[in-house]
């Protein structure tokens, strides 16, 4: 299963996770893991998701998530897991 990492970084505000999760649910993207932390008032969230069931291709979901991020004032990035695996795992 090819996994995707979604990261959300920005000023903490109400409803960030709700907004992102709603979008993912509507597009049949399954969340496998969530972790989050707040560093000096900045909200950092990472999700590991499975997009295999989604009808939309990867680049469309990435663009739409970026757009949602812009609407709520955070930066949302969508990357395939391999880049992190290759950098941090031998």
């Amino acid at each position: 299963m090819k996994k995707t990492i979604i990261t959300v970084v920005g000023k903490d505000t109400v409803g960030i996770i709700a907004k992102v999760c709603t979008y993912l649910a509507n597009n049949r993207v399954n969340i496998l893991d969530i972790s989050q932390t707040i560093v000096s008032d900045y909200f950092n969230m990472m999700m590991i998701v499975d997009m295999n069931e989604s009808a939309k291709p990867f680049d469309v979901i990435a663009d739409e998530l970026t757009q949602i991020g812009e609407e709520i004032g955070v930066i949302i990035k969508c990357q395939r897991e391999e880049i992190f695996d290759s950098m941090h795992r031998i």
């Binding site: 391999e82 880049i83 290759s86 941090h88």
Partner: protein, 454 residues
């Protein structure tokens, strides 16, 4: 499973420390394009490049999107044109017309540069090699994306001093031909010793005759990442310093390996090599000079610089080698002047001279790179500078190169602006004592002995 800190570290490298893949370079053999009819040859070349490379830029963009990592350049390298045009070209203008075909093909497929307007003359020049070399000024003045390189020496053959002498004249002539653009043509022309067949970096890239029909070579970068990592170990000893560089180089190179494999799969073209070079850009924070400063010299050029660069270069290779299945190309730290803000600053405060840069090239790839000198420098002086640099490569069994720009109408202290990744540069002083009698002797410097190393 990947954790949030690892994800944050990777993204910090990309967003704040200028981590990128510097280039995906598609090497294409043009040997099967050879024809005795010039028009037929040009049409064969155009068709082969535009068919093999048609998806290169699109694929590069897809990979960028998939991993959110910038791939700055998509480029093409081709078989040295002196070989390809040998039976069709009767004049230098015939060769220059091939350069225009290459430029059109590069624009059609959307690549930034196409390298391989080249001749390999390390021992001797054929008639066609010389025709190509003499066509360089016109070829580079009438094209935008074509890069030219001439290999004039090697450890196995010695140095072709006739070619060195000729290249002094050709560099000057190229400067005159592009005088209206601050002699920009010379930024696309490099003279090499021990040129590798699989170099993905410009201006010296060409697709060697030992290579397969098409191949993907990738150049990684990340001076900013190394610099940031070293900020965290200030004051620590050399062991800690070297381990930090090695680990960072490993991470950076792994990204290159991932991109190279992916590009190779998507394009259906075999993966060749990763080039481990630390390649700076004029962007602030993307500088090899800043790493040298972080290692502990006030400015590059200060005593200690050569040693600092030697250890940097070696550790980058040690870290990178394990991260990639095949390593090749130039693989070392680049020290171009105009493309590195820290180097520019060092020249401006008087810390860095051409002579010190020459010493630095003994321990790192690649050579005197993107150095702007006064436009009235003598041809023989340029040849003398080339000969010195070639000798370093020949004796030390390494690649060396000279990409020097005599800027017509400018003098020491003036600034010249090349734009984009080529950056800007202060005009540097050249030793004005003559070497005419040395350069004018003609002939070859014999290959060096491989014993009694001292």
């Amino acid at each position: 499973m990947i954790n949030i800190y690892e994800v944050a570290e990777t993204n910090q490298m990309i967003e704040k420390e200028n981590l990128d893949v510097r280039t995906i370079t598609l090497g294409i053999s043009l040997l099967d394009c050879i024809d005795t009819d010039l028009e037929k040859l040009k049409s064969n070349i155009y068709n082969k490049i535009t068919s093999v490379a048609k998806d290169l830029v699109k694929t590069g963009k897809e990979i960028e999107k998939k991993y959110a990592i910038p791939i700055v350049n998509k480029r093409i390298s081709i078989t040295p044109i002196a070989l390809i045009g040998a039976s069709a070209c009767k004049t230098s203008d015939d060769y220059a017309s091939i350069a225009m075909t290459l430029d059109e093909a590069a624009k059609e497929v959307g690549v930034n540069f196409i390298g391989g307007y080249s001749a390999l003359v390390s021992k001797g020049m054929t008639v066609s090699d010389e025709l190509l070399i003499r066509s360089i000024p016109k070829a580079l003045a009438s094209t935008d994306r074509v890069c030219s390189s001439i290999n004039v020496g090697s450890t196995k053959t010695g140095i072709n001093m006739d070619a060195v002498k000729l290249m002094g004249q050709i560099i000057k002539e190229t400067a005159v031909y592009t005088a209206d653009r601050d002699s920009l043509g010379c930024a696309k022309l490099v003279v090499l010793c021990n040129a590798p067949d699989d170099n993905p970096f410009m201006a010296g890239a060409f697709h060697g005759v030992t290579e397969a029909d098409a191949i993907i070579n990738v150049g990684v970068s990340g001076p900013g990442v190394v610099k940031t990592a070293l900020e965290k170990v200030r004051g620590e000893n050399f062991e800690v310093l070297c381990e930090t560089i090695k680990k960072t180089a490993f991470k950076v190179t792994r990204v290159g390996q991932l991109v190279a494999k992916e590009a190779s799969e998507k394009l259906g073209i075999p993966f060749g090599i990763i080039d481990l070079s630390l390649a700076p850009t004029p962007a602030v924070g993307d500088s090899v000079a800043d790493i040298l400063h972080e290692i502990g010299v006030e400015y590059p050029g200060a005593p200690g610089t050569t040693a600092a660069l030697a250890l940097l270069n070696d550790q980058v290779k040690k870290g990178g080698v394990m991260a990639s299945s095949y390593v090749g190309g130039l693989s070392g730290a680049f020290i171009p002047v105009s493309e590195d803000q820290g180097m520019i600053n060092a020249v401006e405060v008087g810390a860095l001279t051409i002579e010190k840069l020459e010493a630095m090239t003994c321990v790192c790839s690649v050579g005197l790179d993107m150095i702007a000198v006064p436009g009235d420098v003598k041809d023989t002086t340029l040849s003398g500078i080339i000969a010195d640099e070639m000798a370093i490569g020949m004796i030390n069994q390494k690649t060396t190169a000279v990409r020097i720009i005599p800027v017509i109408g400018k003098k020491v202290g003036d600034i010249v602006e090349f734009g984009g990744l080529l950056g800007y540069a202060p005009i540097m002083a050249v030793n004005s004592f003559a070497c005419d009698e040395f350069v004018n002797r003609g002939g070859r410097i014999p290959a060096p002995i491989h014993s009694f190393k001292n």
